[in-house]
């Protein structure tokens, strides 16, 4: 697994992908948090990082599928998947290697935004007037969300040989899972089941984490969704055996 992970991560670094992803993420987040008057924290008047945590997931919806779209689609097209699968590797080794490589890239994209926290911390009046537990919870939520999106991207890439199809499917499913359930729950159809439907979506658990209370139920939700989606990818990769 580690060999696949390091090869994948190196190929991100050796191509433009890593730099473009990190660059675009940081530029857009920087503009949103500090410059654009509608969302900038300087004009807002409150020392919090809500902009990053509420808009970050939407940037991820576009960026993460772009990172993961080639993971299996390209290998299938080029035939290198056959090469990997005839090496002494299990399907899980390959999937986890690819998943962790994209997750690592997301982590590296997110890491520099920690600077925002310190900036806002010092800009606050009085200094340090920021909801630190909320920020920590939000970071954990955003990372776990990144994990879910990465697994969706891997799944989408494993069902097709076209990178574009993989990208569009992944972006679509990320969006549905993130806010789709929440929106559907608002339809005036469900009465008492509305909360249940809301809880199926990511947004409910993400918001719960960003309140600063790290509830094990939310963490387990994220981890199990990631695991289930990766298991489906494993199933799809294994379907050549049928």
């Amino acid at each position: 697994m580690l060999q696949v992970l390091s090869k994948e991560f190196n190929s991100f670094l050796n191509s433009l992908i890593a730099y473009v992803v990190i660059g675009v993420f940081l530029t857009s987040m920087g503009l949103l948090v500090w410059v654009f008057p509608d969302t900038a924290v300087l004009d807002y008047g409150y020392a919090d990082m809500d902009t990053l945590f509420s808009l970050g997931p939407y940037v991820f919806i576009f960026l993460i599928p772009a990172v993961t779209m080639k993971s299996f689609a390209e290998e299938k097209k080029a035939g290198t998947l056959e090469l990997l699968m005839t090496k002494p590797l299990t399907d899980w080794n390959i999937i986890l290697g690819k998943f962790l490589a994209s997750f690592l890239l997301v982590l590296f994209a997110l890491l520099p935004t920690v600077v925002y926290y310190f900036s806002i911390y010092t800009l606050g009046n009085p200094v340090g007037n920021i909801d630190t537990p909320g920020v920590v919870g939000s970071y954990i939520g955003l990372l776990l969300l990144g994990g879910v999106f990465c697994s969706i991207g891997i799944l989408a890439s494993s069902i097709t040989t076209s990178q574009i199809v993989a990208f569009i499917l992944a972006a679509f499913f990320c969006f549905i899972l993130f806010s789709g359930f929440d929106s559907v729950a608002q339809l005036n159809l469900w009465s008492s089941q509305a909360l249940l439907i809301k809880q199926l979506g990511v947004l409910y658990h993400y918001e719960s984490l960003s309140r600063g209370l790290i509830d094990s139920r939310d963490v387990i939700y994220f981890l199990s969704v990631t695991f289930i989606i990766l298991s489906i990818s494993k199933l799809i990769l294994g379907s050549r055996q049928w």
């Binding site: 696949v4 190929s11 699968m85 005839t86 090496k87 002494p88």
Partner: protein, 311 residues
């Protein structure tokens, strides 16, 4: 180390790609796996490497079943897939390093092995290039180096020479010959000369069935029960008249007025054919003794109806 294919059947949906075939490669053999396109060569190889599971039957590598011990079998075999897939964005040595690590070779030994493979496969001047910058012949060498990096006992090569120019062809063949000294090698091809150049033994497969499995010399002998002559006339000739000639077994029309005449072994029908033409005042414009080469044996073997494929 031996490779045994036992009653292997592989079915894709309704279609049987390989139909109950069995053969065994003994240690140190080079075996050519010959057949027309779509005969089931690649399928057999994919099953042998553990990429696809058999529908029925099994493949044993050094006594280990590919179904029950896929990891062990993968460790023992080197495989060059058809079309030689490579990570084009990697450097040659980087790629070989990656593959070596997948086989769990320790870093000190791996460095040595990569150097060795680069030298063996003649990649010394190309090792610092990206694979995408290499010509097809060199890519094929990288593919071979990749299959050899962990010093496998069994080497499975799926059309290792397809699409190469004549010079590259000779080089790759020589390379395969060189590396195969202490390995069991099976390679698939549909080029006859390749088999002649490389193998001790040939397995011919057609429509998922083995139609011949023998040493090269006995397969060549197989055709020598008769002598074939191709005669070309100017003007029309009645094919039945030709059949009446002395010693002729059968006559087949191959063109408007050319015929393939098969005669008993040891009989040269050319003088007869010449006299035949002279008697009828026909111009004989071509008369050639056809050597019963591997090519025509291949043709006969793979075009005849396979008896048990229909049931």
């Amino acid at each position: 180390m031996s490779l045994q294919v036992r009653n292997l059947t592989k079915q894709y949906g309704q279609q049987k790609a390989v139909h109950n075939i069995s053969f065994e490669l003994r240690e140190g053999e080079i075996v050519g796996f010959l057949g027309p396109n779509g005969a089931g060569k690649s399928t057999t190889m994919k099953v042998s490497t553990g990429y696809l599971p058999p529908t029925e039957g099994d493949v044993l590598v050094g006594g280990y079943s590919v179904v029950e011990h896929p990891m062990h079998v993968k460790q023992l075999t080197g495989y060059l897939p058809e079309h030689n897939p490579l990570y084009l964005d990697l450097y040659v040595h980087e790629y070989l390093n990656f593959i070596g690590k997948l086989y769990g070779i320790g870093s000190a030994k791996l460095k040595h092995r990569v150097g060795e493979m680069i030298e063996l496969c003649g990649l010394t001047h190309e090792q610092n290039k990206k694979i995408e910058a290499l010509s097809k012949g060199y890519r094929q060498r990288v593919g071979l180096a990749q299959a050899l990096i962990h010093d496998p006992k069994i080497l499975i090569l799926d059309e290792p020479t397809s699409g190469l120019d004549p010079n590259q062809l000779v080089e790759i063949r020589k390379l395969i010959k060189d590396i195969s000294t202490n390995k069991t090698v099976i390679f698939s091809t549909h080029i006859m000369q390749e088999v002649q150049a490389l193998c001790d033994r040939v397995i011919v497969i057609n429509k998922g069935n083995i139609v011949a499995d023998d040493s090269l010399t006995s397969i060549l002998k197989r055709g020598s029960g008769s002598v074939t002559v191709v005669a070309e006339f100017e003007g029309t000739v009645n094919i039945d008249d030709l059949r009446l000639l002395k010693g002729v077994q059968s006559v087949a029309a191959v063109g408007a007025s050319s015929f393939r005449i098969t005669a008993d072994a040891g009989v040269d029908v050319r003088p007869e054919v010449f006299r035949f033409a002279a008697d009828r005042n026909l111009s004989l414009i071509g008369l050639k003794l056809e050597e019963n080469s591997l090519e025509s044996i291949f043709h006969t073997l793979t075009t005849q109806q396979v008896m048990h494929s229909e049931n």
